[in-house]
Symmetry: C2
Subunit: 203 residues, 2 copies
DNA sequence: TTAGTTTATGAATATGTATTCATATTGTCA
DNA sequence: TGACAATATGAATACATATTCATAAACTAA
């Protein structure tokens, strides 16, 4: 395919500016709390112009969510490909998750609103698209746990539950950090320790 | 105070029926996806009559969320009061959480939409009321971990992080169960094992 | 049974905002 | 520079639905 022309590049840049403005607003006010007028003002376009880029409001939101799901999925999958043993892979996975999360706070907010809340998922079928990517990640993580169990690195448990437990632990700490930065400091090692060693001493 | 009259009792019963109908709809369609007309139809009242019980739609939602927060909070706090050592308390806490959760699936759905998503919390200040109760629970749980650490039952870690980790683990498994019942069976013991022993063998 | 009172009803109103489109503005090329 | 095309604008439109309130229905007590 050929180079995009100046005009095309400009169109894409403007479209990106609309997305950025919308992201900020959706993250702070939610989908229903944000009007097209607000997005237009923030992006320094008229409402009419927004419709040059997107057929309707939902499409803006949907685009953001899907971009986000893609970005997160790609990053996490790559992390699991780290060479080394299973513990190594987990370590990279946590570190990556922390980095991606902190670099994309606004995206995390709308992603959560969509996956946990009941904003639009039912209507738009966004749900399925997002969940597929997350399931794919969890399946790969499960495979790592399954391998680790075979090697007697991990206790025998349903690998999927271990994957869920592992992923939710980092998620929880990150959300805590998002709400109260610095109140309960932790790093990748804290998460790994708690997850791998457990809370109690062996009896 | 005196007995409520027949009329008062009937009023309260009808109000309860409205709440029940609204709960079902909000859980399936979210706040914005549910109209007053739908609630009226489901409760077998006219729209006008709904306004005899609640000044506006938000108040119905708010009432449901607050009822839910109270119910969950009371149950969980009571569980932490269990006599016995720290491990005992955790065991009862998980069992209670599982029971409350499974007995109140619709309430769990709207509670999540409200706490995780960005439905109304900003506008109504619901957020603060809910979070206070949850924080209170987490603080009490932290105290248990702090005590357990002093007794050398638990590893030395920020007790609040342990509380978060513990609570989110059961939450995660329950949500998985809600989405795919039976796919990855678990019980209170599974949760305790993973949390207390950790995933890996000691090195 | 009926006059008076209370309560329920749902059509009409009010409001907010997503979307459209006639017009203005900007850009292009001779 | 001016005529034409492409693009941007935002006031007007369309629509959805929360809320109101004049009226109907149900109830109460003499």
């Amino acid at each position: 395919m050929t180079q995009p022309s100046r005009k095309e590049r400009e169109y894409l840049r403007h479209r990106g500016e609309v997305l950025e403005a919308a992201l900020m607003l959706f993250a702070r006010q939610g989908f229903h709390g944000t009007s097209m007028q607000q997005i237009a003002d923030a992006a320094e376009f008229s409402v009419g112009t927004l419709y040059k880029f997107f057929p309707h409001k939902e499409e803006i939101y949907k685009t953001l969510i899907e971009e986000t799901a893609d970005r997160f999925h790609a990053g996490l999958i790559a992390a699991l490909e780290t060479p080394g043993d299973e513990i190594n892979k987990l370590q990279t996975a946590v570190e990556t998750k922390i980095r991606i999360f902190l670099d994309n706070l606004d995206r995390v907010r709308i992603y959560f609103a969509e996956t946990q809340g009941a904003s639009l998922n039912v209507k738009t079928g966004l749900d399925a698209a997002i969940k597929n990517r997350y399931n794919d990640y969890l399946e790969r993580l499960s495979a790592i746990f399954a391998a680790g169990i075979k090697k007697k690195i991990f206790h025998k448990q349903d690998p999927y539950l271990l994957a869920l437990a592992f992923d939710s632990l980092s998620m929880t700490f990150l959300v805590e950090h998002m709400d109260h930065p610095g109140r309960h400091p932790f790093d990748a090692e804290t998460i790994l320790e708690i997850f791998l060693q457990g809370a109690s001493f062996k009896k």
